[in-house]
Homo-oligomer: 247 residues x 2
């Protein structure tokens, strides 16, 4: 069944009024009609099975048949700091890390980051937000991950440190401390920041700066992973570690 | 430094004779010349730092400066049984799972597998083999993973069961047993088979048949993963589990 995150005002007791964009999606793209059912998510941890009562090009509405709690959210709050890289690769990381269970994304401009195409930041943020929301809908997430505007490397280090209990940077020259072993002893509802360098890696100065700010360099194993592989692998390892222990 | 897996005959004591295809790659594509260095891998766990002594369109040769053991191979032998799906997605899984540390691939024809384009099987196998070898070279693997020809679903169940110590199938309706918890107690050098269903999932009959054959259904968490995400996530979790314990 198709799933849609809706803004708070769209859900009133047992009646649903779909926003224009969702109505377009339901009516024109998916070609659903009155009487068919969809899942509506409020982004606060609840899902609603909804029967469509009216769908046309002006308006989409439905009524709630059933409300239930969503179990798809991991206990840990994983905040991915992803260095900017070529467009497809970056968007792919947003999609995959959302599926896997990341809760927050911050694009980071590091010294070896590829500057993307000339599109305005506003357009990029909108497209990234849409990719994240669609991935959250398709993977049965209960919340849409937060997308922050891009920050420079020093600001990423500072924000990550202030807002999280553990702040880790994947580094191919770290051989002693594995990612998962650095999580030992953390409570299930911890906040973890994970920084993934660009193609070509973080510079040695950047890793040194991160360490000075208290970030821990961690290994994802003795193989050299591409940036996008490192992002999804590290997200998967962190989420699994906390979910396994939370029960 | 560029890395190349060479066939056994190409390495004779301290002199290297590159095969025609590698010579082409070195001379025409990478434009390396005599005096420059590359890494040669014998696929048996050794790597050689090699200085090029002659490179032209007819011939490429070099001499060994240093020989050392490779540490990039995981202790576990992970055999991925991947249901066939659209070309880009399938090839992406081969690439990513090689980076992550899988040792063997078997393409599987399940009831919901997408039949790929009309290309001959021979051409497909050659292209898949090249993708796997390139990913192994770039990620510092010590061996090139094995690629088996495609098999049907029943044959996959049988082969996986006979050749491995644990045989697991990722299933979105399994909620109790997580992948990592099913590995408890296994020795570090175990052989693990992991079966990943196609887009749209395995049919209920297929999962039932797998269970009758002794395969364990495992969960990758409460979210719905796309097929390619499930493949790389499950490979990452298995490899990390064994590498963390092997020390």
């Amino acid at each position: 069944m198709h799933r849609f995150f809706l803004p708070p005002g769209a859900i009133q007791a047992d009646s649903i009024l779909f926003p224009a964009e969702t109505t377009h999606q339901i009516f024109r793209v998916l070609r659903l009609r009155a009487g068919e059912q969809v899942i509506v998510l409020d982004g606060l941890g609840w899902q609603y099975r909804v029967e469509l009562t009216a769908v046309n090009r002006e308006q989409g509405s439905g009524r709630v048949l059933e409300k239930s709690a969503i179990s798809g959210e991991p206990p840990v709050h994983l905040s991915m700091f992803l260095c900017l890289t070529q467009r497809e690769k970056f968007e792919w990381m947003l999609q995959k890390c959302t599926e896997v269970g990341a809760s927050e994304f911050t694009p980071v401009l590091s010294s070896r980051s590829l500057v993307q195409d000339a599109e305005t930041l506003d357009n990029k943020l909108q497209r990234w937000q849409r990719i994240i929301q669609e991935a959250a809908e398709q993977s049965s997430r209960g919340r849409v991950p937060i997308l922050n505007p891009p920050v420079d490397f020093a600001a990423a280090l500072e924000t990550g440190r202030l807002q999280n209990d553990a702040y880790l940077v994947a580094w191919e020259e770290e051989h002693a401390r594995r990612l998962t072993s650095s999580l030992t002893g953390m409570p299930a509802n911890a906040r973890v920041a994970m920084l993934i360098g660009p193609e070509g890696g973080l510079s040695r100065e950047e890793v040194e700066l991160a360490r000075q700010k208290g970030w821990q360099a961690v290994s994802l194993g003795p193989r050299i992973l591409r940036m996008e592989t490192a992002a999804v692998v590290s997200a998967a390892l962190v989420i699994d570690w906390f979910e396994s222990r939370a029960g």
